[in-house]
């Protein structure tokens, strides 16, 4: 188990990177605390897997250092770093039994036979694989196979961290929940450092204590699921997290008023002051659940038109246009939705301001 530090990491797959666009990882400087359950979340192609491979040692970073408990391991192989990794598709040694699969990493390290036996049986017990130990691994179902891949990491008692690269991709939906639960249990039981790469926000938010959101080769926010939802530090986090994502509208600031074309939206004192001090392209963000839809003008309502209403059972998603821009509002099931022209209220506590994509704070 280890505390993993990434010190000013940058990585390019090109032999001779020039501009910033040549880098798959632009600049990452972060710490993964010992025993933490982390999710690395981001869209496809944002550098998640590259980052994971840099941590495990499968990829050597172009720049920067990787530290395990303060020790520089940048030049070490994955085997030396003592890391375990579970891949997108189950990786098995087809010709071996489940037992031999689990014992393989231990045998390669020359561990004594009794100890191998003991560890394999312990891990098989944790993963509910005991009944399969004598079976060939090739004949098992996808979820059992993925558990074996995980087991090959768990058998090593001194493993520094276990890395997961979208491990549930090939698992049936009804088993996904079960396996995720299992991972959580294992984490609570063994207090291992887990880093879990996914592009599925549900998976990330339910699995992790801390979610690391990546976007275009950079970490844009590290936080608890609640942080990501309430205080997205980047417009990307705003619209990537949540379904539908945050409404983002470019606006101009005028004292306590944010102006979106003709519509005037009042801000609270604090937000307005923060906004007054910033430069750059200003955007106003608000989560769909904070928007209020009224059928009558009044208060601070700004006129908007309803385009579409989707009833999702426990709530409704309303699509509106305001000054030519599309917005979503999330209304509770019992609230009636007026048709056509409505008045939208932006409660000041739900409003966040962004300058050039970054949260103004």
């Amino acid at each position: 188990m280890a505390r993993i530090e990434l010190d000013e990491i940058a990585h390019s797959y090109l032999p001779d990177p020039k501009g910033e666009s040549d880098y798959a990882i632009k600049r990452v400087h972060t710490v993964w605390e010992d025993g933490g359950a982390y999710a690395l979340l981001g869209p496809s192609g944002c550098g998640k897997t590259t980052m994971l491979n840099i941590i495990s040692g499968l990829v050597a970073p172009t720049k920067g250092r990787v530290l395990y408990d303060g020790r520089d391991v940048t030049a070490m192989t994955p085997e030396k770093r003592n890391i375990a990794q579970v891949f997108q598709f189950p990786v098995l040694y087809d010709t071996m039994t489940v037992f031999d699969n689990l014992a393989f990493p231990l045998r390669n390290r020359g561990i004594e036979k009794n100890e191998v036996n003991k560890r394999v049986h312990e891990v098989a017990e944790i993963l509910d694989l005991t009944p399969f130990l004598k079976k060939k691994a090739a004949g098992l179902a996808a979820d059992a196979k993925q558990k074996i891949s995980l087991g090959r990491g768990l058998v090593r008692s001194d493993v520094a961290a276990i890395l997961f690269d979208e491990p549930l991709t090939v698992i049936d939906p009804h088993l996904k929940w079960h396996l995720r639960r299992k991972l959580k249990d294992i984490h609570d039981q063994l207090k291992l450092t887990l880093i879990y790469v996914t592009h599925d926000q549900m998976e990330a938010l339910t699995f992790a204590d801390k979610v690391v959101v990546m976007y275009e080769g950079e970490i844009v926010q590290v936080g608890t699921p609640e942080d990501l939802f309430e205080n997205p530090e980047h417009t990307f986090v705003g619209y990537f997290i949540g379904s539908p994502g945050m409404n983002l509208l470019s606006c101009t600031l005028n004292g306590n008023i944010a102006q979106i074309d003709g519509a005037k939206i009042p801000l609270d004192q604090n937000t307005a002051e923060l906004g007054a001090r910033t430069r750059g392209k200003i955007e106003l963000g608000i989560r769909p659940k904070y928007l209020e839809v009224n059928s009558e003008p009044g208060g601070n309502g700004v006129p908007a038109d309803i385009k579409n209403v989707e009833d999702l059972g426990s709530y409704k998603i309303v699509t509106l246009t305001l000054a030519g821009k599309t917005l979503h509002a999330k209304l509770s099931e019992d609230k009636p939705v007026p048709a056509g022209r409505v008045w939208l209220v932006f409660p000041p506590h739900g409003i966040r301001l962004y300058a050039d994509g970054r949260l103004v704070k």
């Binding site: 491979n53 495990s56 499968l58 192989t77 994955p78 085997e79 890391i83 375990a84 990794q85 891949f87 997108q88 598709f89 990786v91 040694y93 087809d94 010709t95 071996m96 039994t97 393989f104 990493p105 390669n108 390290r109 399969f132 079976k135 060939k136 090739a138 004949g139 098992l140 179902a141 891949s149 090959r152 990491g153």
Partner: protein, 290 residues
Amino acid sequence: MGKWENNKAWFLVVPVLVFVAFSAIIPLMTVVNYSVQDILAPGQTVFVGTEWFKKVVHDYRLHDALWRQFLFSGLVLLIEMPLGILIALAMPKKGWGVSFSLVVLALPLLIPWNTIGSIWIIFTRPDIGLFGAAINKLGIPFDHTRTALDAWITLMLMEVWHWTPLVALLAYAGLRAIPEMYYQAAKIDGASAWSTFFYIQLPKMRGVLTIALLLRFMDSFLIYAEPFVLTGGGPGDATTFLSIYLVKIATGQFDVGPAAAFSLIYFLIVLLLCFVFYQVLQNVGKGAKV
């Protein structure tokens, strides 16, 4: 009513049936027909039952040819399979070297079989051949037209040179199809190069290697053109393989009946052995299903 519609469906199968009949069944039946008759003159035939089969089964020259054939195919497989895998493992994985080595490997496969025999006749001639003359100059007497062993060595060399590339190409395709993460997992598990080969590469290549083995077995068991050109079956009967002997009977002595019986037995042996190989390879390393 349902029955009538099913009968109509049979018409749709007719083209395939006609095609298969003319391409396989009718020629095969002709052979069967010859194998049970003695043709005294055109239009004058006598039914002889299993006589030709008995004769062929007891023909000691055929027995010799059969064992020779087994030895030849066995040696070919023993050399070509491991060698092909080794070449595939050593081939470059990216860059210009990939296309270069693929083209070089494929060259022997593109040469007509008769030409290959001619190339090797010249190459191994003891007086002017690059290989034959050189080895004689070194003081080692070598003449494939006189010594049985030399004829075999020449044939084996030619066969290995000609067909190992096929095994290598198939094995290479199998290797390239292994996802990178298997190697990554092996690295993380601390596997040695030998374990990686034995537990990942070899099992993952099983499919293509099965095909390579079957193709190489069939081709080497049916080999005709190259030894016919190179040694003509000699010296003596040293390189008279089954198909060479078969052609000698069929067209040399014009014993169509025995030749037909021989063909059928030959065909059944190949079929049986392919079936056995296939079954064994399919089940190798496969465990009980859950």
